[in-house]
Amino acid sequence: MPDNICDTCGSSDAVVNFTQIVQDEMSTFHLCEACAAEKGLEPAPEPSNFPLTDFLAQMGDERGQDEPATDNQCSFCGLTFGQFRETGRLGCPHCYQTFEVHLKQLLRRIHGSVQHVGKVYLPPDPTASEMEKRLDGLRRKLRRAIEAEDFERAAEVRDEIRSLEPA
């Protein structure tokens, strides 16, 4: 009997293989989800319940399920995912949006992180939150300079902070 036919109801979506050993005799049943539940068999736990599989998903095979098709293309510069795979180089800032899901996995593997915590760039017309982030970054830098007793540097950073803070 093919493996995907349920031994109980005959439906063709058997997903549970159930092996029973009674008095040294082994028998295997193929069951659909409903019939398995009726027999009191719990479905196999979702892979994510295992910390190890989480870990492997992060560290392991590059060609995961989220990998875009090789002809998936950036609408700004025309780079295809296949070309990126070949050269390892992205073609423009927009590529980071086009391939975001895959890139996040990749960046996590390369850097162990996906969140930039360094210098905060202030665009020409900053929003209030961009300004606040920039100030946070500068205050962190100021603390660092003071800790290192680099007072020339601290003075520079302090001036920069003053120039940005609302009067």
């Binding site: 930039h116 360094g118 830098k141």
Partner: protein, 377 residues
């Protein structure tokens, strides 16, 4: 102007052997990768992207204090040999010059005449801001590039993402865009066969190593470039401090290894060093690789104070001025390889002769040639 004679030391201040541990650490480099919004970069950049980026950069230069007094060299306008000299002085990269005979339009380097800092335009990323200093000076190099980055950032629309930080062509540079590297001479660890462990250890603490000319190049003359591996998820200060800390540790290991050599194999070590010096002093033909290996021995001897009278600066200078384009420049013509080897050996002999002959401290009086004494014996 397509010449770099206005740059202090012609871009060679990193050879001066100043800075911490200059006998072991030849130089420190810190670079930041930056791209501009709205233009393709790396392999997707077309001529119009590159030219637009170069124009934007030029307009920002006038307002960037650090660059205001400097020289912009547009690569297609620079003579072939001069381009090779820039490459040999590590002021530009092979990537900037491209694979074709003529470098791509829009590629340029701006050399500041105020600070040891430069900006490559239209390399793999639109801008590569870099500082190259003599000795171990990672924090100082970082401060220089940080300051220039601030100046440029006020003028130019950088490609920046709230989550991923500064966007780069290669995902290995994204985030801070910062690569700090230290060019180290580690003969003690190589000779005591401890180097493998050290290099493996570097990998475990997020650092990596390369040969003389960066990615993919071979290790020659026991020189290693040690740099940070990751760029995202750590602040620039953390990356810089971490490299500094680990490099100082590697220097300690190297010094310990050298003490082991002196303790357990003093005779062999001294012999190697003097043979290297002798070959450099008298050889009639030297390939660049052979030269680098001999310089490694002599550098070790100098560092261990076994070769009195030589200066680290002299050895640094020899590494640069014996490269093919530099030899051709001083010969005033192209040199086929064999002739280059002859010119190289001649240059090295000349420099060492001008430093004066070195007498071995360990030469005892009875080994010295006996001159006719005044008593006419």
């Amino acid at each position: 102007m397509n010449d770099f004679t206005t740059i202090p030391d012609y871009g060679l201040s990193w050879l001066e052997a100043s800075g911490d541990h200059a006998d072991i650490v030849l130089s420190t480099r810190v670079r930041l990768a930056r791209n501009l919004q709205g233009h393709a970069f790396g392999p997707r950049a077309r001529v119009n992207d590159r030219e637009a980026v170069l124009e934007l950069f030029k307009s920002s230069v006038e307002r960037a204090e650090t660059l205001a007094s400097g020289t912009l060299l547009e690569m297609p306008d620079v003579a072939t040999r001069t381009r090779r000299i820039l490459l040999e002085r590590r002021l530009v990269t092979k990537d900037l010059l491209g694979e074709e005979e003529d470098p791509p339009r829009g590629t340029a380097v701006h050399l500041s005449s105020r600070d040891p800092i430069s900006v490559m335009v239209n390399e793999e990323d639109h801008l590569r801001v870099q500082s190259l200093l003599s000795g171990l000076r990672i924090r100082e190099a970082w401060r220089l590039v940080d300051r220039l980055d601030e100046e440029l950032g006020r003028e130019l629309p950088f490609a920046y993402h709230q989550e991923f930080g500064f966007l780069t062509s290669c995902p290995t540079n994204v985030g801070s865009g910062l690569r700090a590297s230290v060019f180290m001479h580690l003969p003690g660890l190589v000779l005591t066969k401890e180097i493998g462990k050290v290099l493996q250890g570097l990998g475990q603490v997020g650092l990596t190593f390369r040969g003389l000319y960066g990615e993919g190049s071979e290790v020659v003359g026991n020189f290693f470039q040690v740099s940070n591996q990751t760029t995202l998820g750590k602040t620039e200060e953390d990356l810089v401090d971490h490299l500094d800390k680990v490099v100082r540790q590697v220097i300690q290991y190297e010094m310990q290894a050298r003490q082991v050599l002196l303790r357990d194999a003093r005779g062999v070590t001294e012999d190697k060093i003097w043979r290297a010096y002798g070959l450099l002093r008298y050889a009639r033909s030297l390939s660049f690789e052979e030269l680098m290996n001999l310089l490694s021995g002599v550098r070790l001897g100098l560092s261990l104070k076994l070769l009195p009278g030589l200066r680290v600066y002299t050895l640094n200078k020899m590494m640069i001025f014996t490269q093919p384009a530099h030899l051709e420049q001083s010969a005033g013509r192209e040199l086929p390889e064999a002739e280059g080897d002859t010119h190289r050996a001649a240059y090295v002999r000349r420099v060492l002769a001008s430093e004066g002959d070195i007498a071995s401290d360990s030469t005892s009086a009875d080994e010295r040639p006996v001159k006719d004494g005044p008593d006419g014996r």
